[in-house]
Each structure stands twice: as C-alpha cells, then as structure tokens.
Amino acid sequence: MNPNLKTTLKYLLLAAVFVYPLFSFANEYVLHVMVLIMIYMVLAMGLNIIPGFCGLLDLGYVGFYGIGAYTAGLLTIHFGLSFWVIVPLAALNGAIWGVLLGAPTLRLTGDYFAIVTFGFSELVVLFLTNEIWLTRGPLGLPGIDPVIIDFSWLSTLIHPQWDWYWEFIGPQPYFYLGLFLVALVYVIMGRMEDSRLGRAWFAIREDSIAASSCGVNLLTYKVIGFAISAAIGAVAGAFLARWTMFLSPDMFKFWESFLILCMVVLGGLGNFKGSLVGAAILIALGEVLRIILPALNLPTETRFLAYGMIMVLMMRFKPMGFFPAIATQSRKNPILIKLKKDLGSS
C-alpha cells in the first residue's frame, strides 16, 4: 500500500474511533469492551517494562493492579477524594510497593524472580481477601463513586448560574478518559524508551554484565523500572475502580497476570506499541468467541477451549510476537533523524 495512503487511512480510522462514541448508534457494549481494552493496553504497556525492557519475567503484575484499585476504591469511599487526586496517590502507592518488593528480590536471577513476583501477587490477593476490616474481603467493595469533574467552585465565581459539575455516567466519558490515559502512558513510555533510562534498561536486557561495565547500576535501574511499571499498573487499577464502581479480590487473581503477560509477548517483548495490539487482540478474542461460538451452534462451554488453542497457534506462528523490533521509539528522535540526513548527504 502506498505509504501516504496508509497514513491517511490510519488517521481516518483513528478519527472514526475517536468520534464513534458520540453517535447515537454507538453500541454501549462495544464501548464497554473498548474501555476494557484500554485498561489492558495501559497494563500491558506498563508490564512491558519488566520482561520487555529489562528482560525479567514478572508473573505477579496483577498485584500492583490490585493495590492501585483498592487504594483508589478505599480513598473514594472513606475520604471522597477526587479521581484526579487519587490517580497520583495510587501511582505512588504502587511505586512504593514496587520498590519494597523489587529492592530485595531484583538481584535474583530469571525464574526465581518470576516466582517471587508470583508469590507477591498471591499475597496481595490474600491480603485483600482476608483483611475484611479494611477491604470488606470477599464481600467486595460496592458503591464506589464514578469519576467526577467538579469545577463548580470556579464556575460560581465566574457566574452564579453556571455549574461546571459533571459526573461520568455510561461508557462514553470513560471511553475518552481511557483514551486520555492510554495516550498519556503511551507518551511516557515513548519518552522513557528513547532516553538514558530506556537505553539502560535495554542494555540490562541484552547483556547485564556488559551493561554494568558501561556504568549501569543494575539493581538501581531494575528497581526504577519495577517501580514505574508498578505505578502504571496501579493507575490502571485506579481507573478500573472508578469505572466498575465495584471491587472484589476475585478481580485480581493470577490468571490476570498471565493474560497481561500474554498480551505483552503477543505484541512483542520490548515493543510497547505492540502491547496495544496484544491487549486489543486478546480482549477482543474473548468477546468475539462469545459471539461467534453460539452462531456456529457450539456451546458456551467451548469458549475457553478455543481461546487456549488460539493462544497456542498464535505463539506457534508468531513466536516473536507481532512486533519483534525493540527500541523503535528512537526512530522518531529528531536528533537521530537529523543525524541520518547528515550522514546520507555526506
């Protein structure tokens, strides 16, 4: 396809997605699934830092997701804090736990680290389940407020009749909020990747001994990566809490960790743009199967049979994921583009 046409098409499609929720024919179920996809996009991008950038297997990412979600849920219920205050707090709490877990364990090698993260996420779920005084445990945490944008204090100052107060109802506002969140994380990921930080991570992933002989402090940079990854997971959790307005420890079982890891691997390890595709495919797949199977007169029970088989086949034919190239963001770095031009002309 002509590259120009492709670019145009791409932007047209993006624009179509962007305005889609505004139309009256917009299907709320589709929007719901899209919001879900966006949450997983954020999660997959955040997780990609650990196995993708640093080359460490993390089987417990859902722990940070859960920490973020419950931080947001409890702060909303007990203190009525605004979403915009909660997001940074949840991120901070996620990062703190990331450091607490990462600092003693990130010196472990390979699969030992993986199992420790897995154990951690199980402990998080057990905590959420058992500390009923705090989390209501298995009874779940219902009645979390939706996201609210409240500028009424400002509007009344300007004009007494105005009331700038919006409560998010239905999937449309969450769609745009989710889109904003994905875009934000996307930009942060891109900027981190194409920086001293990102290069240090890739160096650790490619050859940690050589990285340390280049002056990269392995533990420090792994912990930084772990903390940032945890913070992103917690932000996704905070969004989830205010979107579903209900939390339960069941939502953070370790299957979720695997699902997110699958998204990352399917998209391409170390390629955070691929994670977007991975998330879209795996979440959409579950829904597509939900619709297709009855149409083919297959019972609902076969849904995960097909899901598992498709996962195996995808790995069989795309073992490197859909986008295996790493550190692609630097292709858009103006300094390098200029350098390329200079080299080409000389």
Binding site: I188, R191, M192, S195, R196, L197, G198, R199, A200, F202, A203, E206, D207, I209, A210, A211, S212, S213, C214, G215, V216, N217, L218, I224, I228, I326, A327, S330, N333, I335, L336, L339, K340, L343
Partner: protein
C-alpha cells in the same frame, strides 16, 4: 606515577587457585601486555580489576585524583565510573540494538538525565541527548564505524564487533582500558588496523592493559609484559627479556623446551 598497583592479589574459586599472590604495577600512559597460556588467570585478573569478581586476598590500588585508592569490592559500574573500562573475551554487545545505541549506552555513566527529565523532556535533557549523540558519533568515527551507525550491532562482522566494543568502552571516558584478546578471530588486515587503533587510544592518554595470544601483536605494541601461568606471575619485563625468559618458554612450550 602508577595508575594501578596490584599487590599480592589472590583469587580462589572454592579449591581452585586462579590467582596466587600476583603483584605488578601499571604506569600511567603505558601499554602493558598480560600474557600467559590458557587458564593462566589473565581474564580472572581483568574480572578482578573491573569489579566483576571480588579478589579473595590482596589489594588493588587505583589512582584517583592523584592518590591511590583501594578498589577491592567495588561493583563494575563503580569501576567504570572511576575510569576503568573493558572489553570482553567473547564480545558482549547489545546485539539487538543499533551500533549508535551501543555507544550511547557507553555514555551512561558520564550523563545524568533521570526519569523526570526523560518524561518532561526538559531542556537540559535535550541538550544532554544531543551531546551524547555527538560524542558517540565521534567515538564511532574514531574506530571507523560511522558507516554502520544505524545497523544493529549483531549484524556486524566479527572484526567490526570488536571495534564497536572498543568504541563503547572508550565512550565511558576511561583512564585505564582493559582489552581482552581484541585480535582474536581477526584477519591480518584487521589486526593491523587494530594495532593502529590501540596506538591511537594510547595517544589519547589512556593507559591500556592488553591480554593477547597473538605474540607478534603483543611484542610490537607493548613496552612491558607481565606473564602469568597457573595463577602465578612468572615473569615481568620488556618484550626481549620475556622472549628469552626460560620460565616463559617452559610455560608456553612445556618442560624441556627451555633446556633445548
């Protein structure tokens, strides 16, 4: 003044004595050859100096701000920070990354942008990124690899990979450079250009320690040599002395060769 003093250094791996009471010194600006048969402990010596291994006994003293400081037990990244850089016996590049990125990572310890700088793209971060690219390009030109800037490191030929590794280590601004068999696997033409390169590095004022099996190369560029055998220093001196030293001949050719 010496840049490095090795004082009765001993390294044990369980029951195995890899280095036994080895002492030598390295003068600032010189090119020192570290030779010996396979398994003599040469790479172990490099691993100790560069911080990969912590020696069991003895002292390593490194010149810093005009004074000698004990460097036992510092991590590799700290040693790099002090000004010790190295290459590896089996080339260790970041092979999925581009040639330029490899060298840019070498600049890591001389730069300081952090997460916030990266995400907010502050002015100082941008300027630093520009400087990193410029300096990395200079080093790539220095080793004649500017043609391959955007190729992935893994796609280079073996000789070029060796050179890239040298460029990466130079990017850390070392005062002491440890080259571990840089000519291994190179053809004569590449070896010749390597000799030129080592001279060029030395001309920059960088002290070089060289492990090498290619005796012609070693003898031609090193003024002084230290010979290890089974972890023991058996000789030290100029190329001519070493060549005549019966212990060295014995170590390389076996007992009897020296008498003959």
């Amino acid at each position: 003044m010496n840049i490095l003093d090795i004082d009765s250094l001993t390294m044990r791996f369980g029951g195995l004595l890899a280095l036994a009471d080895v002492s030598f010194h390295v003068a600032r600006g010189e090119i020192l050859g570290l030779i010996g048969p396979n398994g003599a402990g040469k790479s172990t010596m490099f691993n100790c100096i560069s911080g990969v291994l912590r020696p069991t006994e003895g002292d390593m003293l490194f010149e810093k701000d005009g004074k000698l400081m004990r460097i036992n037990g510092y991590k590799p990244e700290k040693m790099t920070h002090f000004g010790v850089a190295r290459t590896f016996q089996n080339v260790r590049l970041f092979s999925a990354l581009t040639v330029l990125d490899n060298v840019r990572i070498g600049r890591h310890c001389r730069t300081k942008a952090n997460f916030f700088g990266a995400v907010l793209r502050t002015r100082s971060q941008k300027e630093e990124e520009q400087r990193i690219v410029d300096e990395s390009m200079n080093w790539l030109k220095f080793v004649d690899l500017e043609k391959f800037v955007f190729n992935t490191a893994g796609s280079l030929s073996y000789g070029f990979q060796r050179k890239l590794e040298i460029a990466r280590s130079l990017a850390t601004e070392p005062r002491l450079l440890l080259l571990d068999e840089p000519a291994a696997g190179m053809n004569p033409k590449e070896t010749k250009s390597l000799i030129d390169l080592i001279h060029k590095i030395s001309d920059l004022g960088v002290t070089v320690i060289l492990i090498e099996h290619d005796m012609k190369l070693v003898m031609s560029i090193c003024r002084r040599l230290v010979v290890l055998d089974h972890g023991i220093k058996i000789a030290e001196g100029g190329p001519r002395e070493i060549r005549a030293n019966p212990k060295v001949i014995e170590a390389y050719l076996g007992r009897g060769a020296a008498d003959a």
